[in-house]
């Protein structure tokens, strides 16, 4: 159950919540339907879990529909997903037919709701074909691409583009993720929920529990990287950086992540990491189940420095989470990390294990900077990357779409 909007007044200024209510008032009673492919698990479901009730809280008649599909359909959409992220995948004509057929089955069920809605927001490629199956639609249809499609595998994008370009608008998380389309492409970065299990405040007893469970020494500095076991997250580079620091400081390292068991490449990376860490009791490699939010929260809070040494990254919400917990972040100079980490202010951008080691040593020698940068990072997230800003941009977008104007100033 998502907290009500009022609960966020203790975190953001009450004027921010009042602003959302005022924007919501302008959209009172408007029917907005979100459609995605899963009710639980994954980033999109996490967003909709709080967004839909909060839209309702400010007066919008928001609802959330989920499409159903066969295992074959989800294999195909996983292929589409990978293709959009640049992985060469084989999708036959028959695969695309199955994709369309499953959308058709869902359209038969959802058509009345979708065609009557004022705004329909379709999340990711799985339900994208629904638009073509709702010929009597009254409202505006928006495609929300949550993934990085900046360098897609062309055959997949060429086909999906013919579907997506029929929408009235699309939304991407960053300009770098977008593709040219013949309609307005809005930019709405993601956000974190400060009251969620992954980000809420924790008691000293809870933190002690996490520390004990992970076998960490409370008296020595802790470096933490939370991410999937994926080569682009460069866990081996993190271990190399740790070893360079370890020569001069008694640090501990936690590499925590999940998702390796059902992903052959993830499994291989995990094995490489285990091998690289072997024999060093101060490297803790934790393979966490998907619901281990409190453990992740605790590890990030116990850290002295949070690392996200990616060589390729989407937005990098683990960076946002680290900053929100008042930690300086040493991150790879890529993707959305660049939007969040600014040298000497919220952390450091690095390109090599040596660069990461250098910055870790700098911070361990300047403890006051850890605190200052941590505070600056937390305020930066408060202003820019909490769900209140995310909700505001969706409400603003709906107002802009309703007006049908694209002037610089829009009075509503």
């Amino acid at each position: 159950m998502s907290p009500s909007l009022a609960a966020y007044e203790s975190i953001v200024n009450s004027s921010v919540v009042a602003q959302l209510r005022r924007l919501g008032k302008k959209l009172e009673g408007r029917r907005v339907v979100h459609v995605n492919s899963t009710r639980e698990g994954g980033g999109v479901a996490e967003i909709l879990e709080w967004m839909v009730p909060n839209m309702r809280d400010v007066g919008v008649d928001a609802s959330w529909e989920v499409i159903h599909g066969t295992p074959r359909f989800f294999d195909i959409t996983k292929g589409i997903h990978n293709g959009l992220q640049g992985k060469p995948v084989e999708l036959s004509k028959k695969d695309w037919m199955i994709y369309q057929d499953v959308n058709e089955e869902n359209a038969a069920r959802l058509r009345p709701v979708l065609e009557e809605a004022d705004v329909v927001i379709i999340h990711d490629p799985q339900p994208a074909y629904l638009l073509q199956l709702c010929p009597n639609r009254k409202g505006k249809w928006i495609w929300r691409g949550h993934i990085d499609i900046s360098r897609p595998f062309r055959p997949v994008w060429k086909y999906l583009r013919t579907i997506v370009e029929k929408y009235d608008a699309s939304i991407f998380s960053m300009a770098e993720f977008a593709q040219p389309l013949p309609h307005p492409q809005f930019l709405v970065p993601p956000s974190i929920d400060p009251l969620s299990e992954k980000n809420r405040e924790m008691t000293p007893a809870e933190l002690s529990g996490v520390r004990a469970e992970a076998g960490l020494d409370p008296d020595r500095p802790l470096l933490v990287q939370v991410s999937r076991f994926d080569r682009f997250k460069d866990p081996i580079g993190v271990i190399q950086a740790y070893r360079l620091v370890r020569k001069v400081a008694p640090v501990q390292l936690v590499l925590a992540g999940g998702g390796a068991t059902d992903d052959p490449e993830g499994k291989a990376v995990l094995e490489e990491v285990m091998e690289a860490a072997e024999g060093d009791p101060d490297i803790h490699v934790l393979l966490l189940p998907s619901g281990a939010h409190a453990t992740i929260n605790g590890l990030q809070r116990l850290a002295d420095i949070v690392l996200q040494k990616s060589t390729r990254e989407g937005f990098g919400l683990t960076v946002t989470e680290g900053l929100w917990k008042g930690k300086p972040v040493i991150g790879g100079d890529v993707g959305g990390i660049r939007l969040q980490v600014v040298n000497h202010h919220t952390g450091f951008l690095v390109n090599t294990p040596e660069g990461a080691a250098h910055r870790i040593r700098y911070l361990l020698h300047h403890h006051e900077r850890i605190k200052e940068m941590g505070e600056e990072g937390r305020e930066f997230v408060r202003e820019n990357f909490l769900l209140t800003r995310h909700l505001r941009e969706y409400l603003t977008l709906m107002l802009a779409i309703r007006s049908g104007k694209s002037e610089r100033i829009l009075l509503v």
Partner: protein
């Protein structure tokens, strides 16, 4: 005097449709032809956007020149440009092009960026709405400012500078109505060098300037 109507605003950013710039010449050519809204976004709307306020420069062109082209000379020359000192965006465009042309003339090769570091041209719509809040007396302005969102500060102080009458923020325009007694307030507001301020800092500065005047009286 007429009560001050507190407005609020939110920024909705979108891609401009222009091709990304891979090098300084492409940047120059896109700046020469882009719409005024694109220029306005990259020079003026940076404070209201969800990114860290760059500690060195306020406009995106200077930041790009520094971080990705690696041309600190150009970054410094672009960084000092004050978009609010131009009556029209075309004036700002002309000066920006002059700075880039001068730099291109000084360089033996056109600087490029690596793939992934291109300059991406954006624009935005500022959605403005009435908060319903009214300020009846100049003495109520400082407490009201403390409560205002960043959107309100942006709209009434920075965005206002580009509305008619040009170069005047809404707070000063309103205080002008209040008569001679409030002239020191006006001078105090006018002394704020807002160029490097984030909106949170600007709010603090505005409150400080006004309360200082009240204390002095």
């Amino acid at each position: 005097m007429t009560p001050f109507e507190v407005k609020d605003c939110a920024l909705l950013i979108r891609m401009s449709g222009l091709s990304p710039a891979m090098n300084l010449r492409e940047l120059r050519d896109r700046i020469a032809t882009c719409s005024e809204n694109v220029l306005y976004h990259h020079f003026c709307e940076t404070t209201l956007r969800p990114t860290f306020d760059d500690p060195d420069y306020r406009n995106d062109f200077a930041v790009w020149a520094k971080l990705y082209l690696g041309d600190r000379v150009l970054a410094e020359r672009l960084g000092i440009l004050d978009p609010y000192s131009f009556e029209r965006m075309e004036g700002l465009r002309a000066v920006t092009l002059e700075v880039i042309d001068d730099r291109l003339g000084e360089l033996t090769t056109v600087p490029w960026v690596r793939s992934g570091d291109e300059f991406l041209f954006k624009e935005a719509t500022t959605v403005v709405f009435d908060t319903g809040e009214r300020i009846g007396h100049p003495r109520e302005l400082a407490p009201a400012l403390r409560r205002m969102t960043n959107g309100s500060i942006y709209y009434h102080f920075l965005e206002a500078l580009r509305r008619i009458p040009m170069g005047q923020d809404d707070f000063s325009a309103w205080l002008l109505e209040a008569g001679k007694e409030y002239e020191p307030y006006l001078r105090s507001l006018g002394s704020i060098d807002y160029h490097f301020h984030s909106l949170a800092l600007l709010r603090k500065e505005l409150v400080r300037a006004l309360t200082q005047m009240e204390d002095a009286q």
